[in-house]
Amino acid sequence: MSLFRPKEYLRVATISEATGLLKKYGDSAAALAGGTDLLVAKPPHIEYIVDISHLPLNYVEHDAKGVRIGALTTLNEIAASPRLKEEPYDLIAKSTLEMGTPLTKNYSTIGGNLCTAAPSADMPPSLMALDAEARITGPTSKRKVPVCEFFAGPKKSILKKGELLTEIFVPKAPAKTKAVFMKKGRTSEDIAQVNAAVRLTISGGACKTARIILGAVAPTPIRCEAAETMLEGKKLEDISEMAEEVAQVAANNAKPISDIRSSAEYRKAIAKVLVKRSLMCVIEKFGGS
């Protein structure tokens, strides 16, 4: 049958109930959080809907160690959170602005965005730029995985049967860290043709840490390490001069496909433009011109 006709709807009250059911039913179970991916896809092989939307995983906490975001925090809650107003964490809030619609973002969750693992997802690049970590709870154990390593392939995360993504941890950013997220879509709200996040941490007038992340140009969001290396140790004025070159090296990392949203060539060209513009924007945030 090609129709969505699950046998059973199950609402859980605890994380261990959830992981237990997800382990028990394996591939024929689906976790229902916001529902904005699941109920569009309506996968016919799903027999058990495990409604996790009432679990206590909706929070944004900010302490000395960093920021913790519960996996069930909705995108609109993230956009409005007073704890995500400070730089560079505001990057996470800004990443939500051109996703979905203002309505679906009342239900779509940050956890859902990561677990659906679309190559064009808008949350991962910003999280990866800030060295965020995915915290996962299974039926019998917990583990932590850098968001950079969370994605296995298009629409595939590294979650095993029975595991639930429960929290995203963003470590306290070093002083003098600025970051920018940019996206190119076809209209005001769209699935990204290309998205990019760029972060620089400056120390002693020079770049200590650089992160250049590109999305929608590979099977998963990618770090452009060769381009990042070019920036390490450079002064801001120098980065300004070499932005075009760095952007080209980053774009060379891109291995996009052609689909109905964009050709591969256009994605490559835009990847370069977004990285260059993001770099210039970060420099401007530091007060450079």
Binding site: T187, Q193, I260, R261, Y266
Partner: protein, 787 residues
């Protein structure tokens, strides 16, 4: 902005709509909302193949599925076809399927889930055939795939009939215009320029999908609640397909959640009726959004060539057009729009030598149909770009070039008729003024390069066509208007009530509209071609004249005066030469034989009710040239003229275009209700026109729609469009000498030249001409960066 004229009390006023309250509170009824007790739910099984022979259909498993009450295929219905002038389309596929989405079978079940599940149990064996998807390949005389082998046997119902091209087996129609001598014109011209253009398939996306519900009455007649803009056409199509006499068919149309031409022909109705007959129960069928995309109609794609010859002094000497309209697998409304879209070349500019060839071409894709503009926007696209290119070639300002070539009062159109009631120059001048065309343009900020553009267009309203109206006086003095005009959102219920209110000097709330129920309301050609205001308005005025005559005759007896001394206004009948002699219209009715509790009646003549026909003629044309034999005759009911202006910002590095300002000026004749006309200008221009220009495209691969959802079929959203203050809708009024109180129409005119205005602005900003719609950022990027 007021359009009130001192001589009118109701006409020209921005009155709120009669249906606004029920729509604002969610109470308004639409076809998707109807339910009847004991109703069954129908679902249609659709072809997964673009072109295939049907080898066999086995419905036995589906018939036995618990909750299923009937399954139908072609075997359950007469072997008949329907269409819009060319009857080539079966209700359920017979022998062959020709597009992905074509209905093959249908199920009626006790609930929707069961109907969906039962569809999966119907087994159809297909032999897949090669498909034809490319419009230009389909057009070739040596085309490898012929889609309608039996074309010659199809019934034709249009005058003039379809002209097939014996050399081109996939061409369903060929329409020509031959005016003057283009070869001579091109020889005389100082410059000759040529271009090739493409427009995509665009889906109407009415917010409400189609739905129908049918019930067989105890006497065997049929009542169908339909998503139909043309109840008379639908009655005819049901009658043809299911062999039911028209007098036994009742079509009821409540409010429609958008039409735009998508709801002209039979869609779900036939299946509902056939299943209702088989089960003896009411049957409802509601389309999903995906079914609207593949199972209804859309604007067909086009490929066109425009060649233009101009003199150094700025005069256009000759124009040659060739346009291929993709019909989809059946002719749909394409038969008519391939004959009428060409009007675009005939109605704006003075072109002494004009040669046009328009072709309707079959391809194995869903059916193309009527869509706001009806073939005009597609042709306008190429013409307006070539007009601008010609101006640039001779070094003349693009606005000045257009102005000097405009058709003026008394000039001959491309069909040879004498044009009148034209407001093109006013539309043009106001647009130019709003654009500050003759002042330097402010530069764009940061990464944005700014440009400014202008385009002109025209839209006719189809002839021949006819509308009836019936008006009645109620015992309480209210006036009832019965028409088969469909309220698709354009405001017809309000506008038409305004005519009756104006005529009888009443306020709008005293007019009762009874619409679109063929048990009660009379014939109408249809709510298409921007024709309702003009045709039904005229019919209402004529009917009101008849009603007034009856009122005066009855009043004359009661008042003991001559009938022609009387007039009727504001609920009173009064003597023209002594207005103090008056009675209330309510007093025309007498209590029933002295027993007032049974109600009142008119003592003679039966009901105070009058009907009228308004008919628009089309003059005879020479079939060899499609030039009017008599230039004082008309090629259409009336012409609407439009000017659009646009200011855009372009990001050269990405090809992204942002619209900063948009102007839509249209000549509507006398404006009946400026609030409603502005609504049309806003929605048609900035909504749909920009959609076609910038983002909308149904993307096909081998006949399958790849973007059958709103994630990838990109519609303009509120944040994509310019600010309210930067969206300028201009109502131009050039009263039409035959229009009701001088009115014309508006709906379709609003999006004729929008894409061309934006393309003109993009060229101004970048020096690059876009020739293919939609003008996506990727396409512009390629033109800017490919060496």
């Amino acid at each position: 902005m007021t359009h009130e004229h001192s001589e009118f009390t109701v006409i020209g006023r921005p009155l709120p709509r009669k249906d606004a309250m029920e729509k604002a509170t969610g109470k308004a009824l639409y076809p998707t909302g109807f339910q009847l007790p004991g109703m069954l739910h129908a679902k249609i099984l659709r072809s997964p193949h673009a072109h295939a022979e049907i080898l066999g259909i086995d419905t036995s498993k589906a018939e036995k599925y618990p909750g299923v009450e009937a399954v139908i295929t072609y075997k359950d219905i007469p072997d008949k076809r329907y269409g819009y002038g060319l009857n080539d389309q079966p209700m359920l596929a017979r022998g062959k399927v020709r597009y992905i989405g074509e209905p093959v079978a249908a199920v009626a079940a006790r609930d929707l889930d069961t109907a969906e599940e039962a569809l999966e149990l119907i087994e159809v064996k297909y032999k897949v055939l090669p498909g034809m998807f490319d419009l230009e390949d389909a057009f070739r005389s040596d085309t490898p795939v012929i889609i309608h082998e039996d074309y010659e046997k199809y019934e034709l119902q249009f005058f003039p009939p379809a002209k097939m091209d014996a050399k081109r087996p996939n061409v369903a129609n060929h329409f020509i215009i031959r005016k003057g001598d283009v070869e001579k014109g091109f020889k005389e011209a100082d410059y000759v320029l040529e271009g090739k253009f493409k427009t995509p398939r665009q889906q109407h996306v009415p917010m409400e999908p189609h739905a129908a519900m049918a019930r067989i009455e105890n006497d065997g007649s049929v009542t169908v609640w339909a998503s139909s803009q043309q109840p008379s056409l639908l009655t005819n199509q049901i009658s043809t397909l299911l062999e039911i006499p028209p007098s036994k068919i009742r079509v009821v149309v409540p409010y429609l959640g958008g039409g735009f031409g998508n709801k002209t022909q039979l869609k779900a109705e036939g299946v509902c009726i056939a299943l209702a007959r088989k089960t003896g129960k009411p049957v409802k069928c509601s389309f999903t959004r995906e079914e609207v995309n593949c199972g209804t109609t859309s604007r067909g794609g086009t490929v066109s060539r425009v060649k233009i010859g101009v003199m150094k002094d700025g005069h256009i000497v000759a124009m040659e057009n060739e346009i291929l309209y993709a019909s989809g697998a059946y002719s749909g409304d394409g038969f008519v729009y391939s004959t009428r879209g060409p009007f675009e070349a005939a109605g704006t500019y003075k072109i002494p030598n004009l040669k046009l060839d328009s072709y309707l071409v079959y391809v194995n894709e869903p059916v193309s149909g009527a869509f706001r503009g009806f073939g005009n926007p597609e042709l306008n696209w190429g013409i307006e770009i070539m007009i601008s290119q010609a101006a640039d070639k001779i070094g003349m300002d693009r606005a000045k070039f257009r102005r000097m070539n405009l058709l003026k009062e008394g000039d001959e159109s491309g069909f040879g008729e004498i044009m009148h009631s034209l407001g093109t120059d006013v539309c043009f001048d106001k647009t130019v003024k709003e654009l500050k065309w003759n002042e330097p343009l402010a530069k764009g900020k940061d990464k944005w390069k700014r440009g400014r553009g202008i385009a002109l267009g025209n839209k006719y309203s189809i002839a021949p066509s006819a509308s009836y109206a019936t008006v009645k006086l109620h015992v309480d003095g209210a006036i009832e208007v019965r028409v088969s005009a469909i309220e698709i959102g354009q405001g017809s219920n309000t506008i038409l009530a305004q005519f009756a209110a104006e005529y009888f000097g009443l306020t709008l709330d005293r007019i009762k509209m009874v619409v679109s129920d063929t048990a009660v309301t009379p014939f109408d050609f249809g709510t298409v071609s921007s024709r309702i205001t003009y045709h039904v308005g005229n019919a209402i005025i004529k009917a009101c004249e008849g009603l007034k005559k009856q009122i005066c005759e009855l009043a004359a007896r009661k008042m003991n005066v001559k009938a022609d001394d009387l007039d009727v206004k504001g609920g009173k009948v009064f003597s023209k030469h002594d207005p103090s002699k008056k009675i209330d219209t309510q007093d025309l009715f007498s209590p029933t034989l002295g027993m007032g509790h049974i109600g009142k009646y008119a003592e003679i003549g039966g009901e105070l009710i009058s009907s009228a026909t308004f008919f628009s003629k089309m003059g005879k044309m020479d079939p060899a040239t499609n030039q009017l034999l008599n230039k004082h005759d008309k090629s259409c009911s009336f012409w609407m003229e439009i000017a659009n202006g646009a200011i855009v910002d372009v990001d050269i590095e990405t090809g992204e275009v942002r619209l900063r300002k948009f102007i839509n000026a249209c000549d509507v004749g006398q404006c009946i209700n400026p609030l409603l006309v502005e609504g049309q200008l806003d929605g048609g221009g900035v909504g749909m026109g920009l959609g076609l220009g910038m983002w909308e495209e149904m993307i096909f691969k081998d006949g399958k729609i790849m973007n059958s959802n709103f994630v990838d079929y990109k519609l303009p959203r509120a944040a994509d469009l310019p600010a309210v203050d930067d969206t300028v809708s201009i109502i131009v009024e050039t009263p039409h000498r035959e229009g009701p109180y001088g009115a014309k129409g508006i709906g379709e005119a609003t999006m004729i030249c929008t894409p061309a205005a934006v393309a003109d602005a993009i060229h101004d900003a970048t020096g690059v001409w876009m020739t293919e719609l939609p003008m996506t950022s990727e396409k512009l990027y390629k033109l800017l960066h490919d060496k």
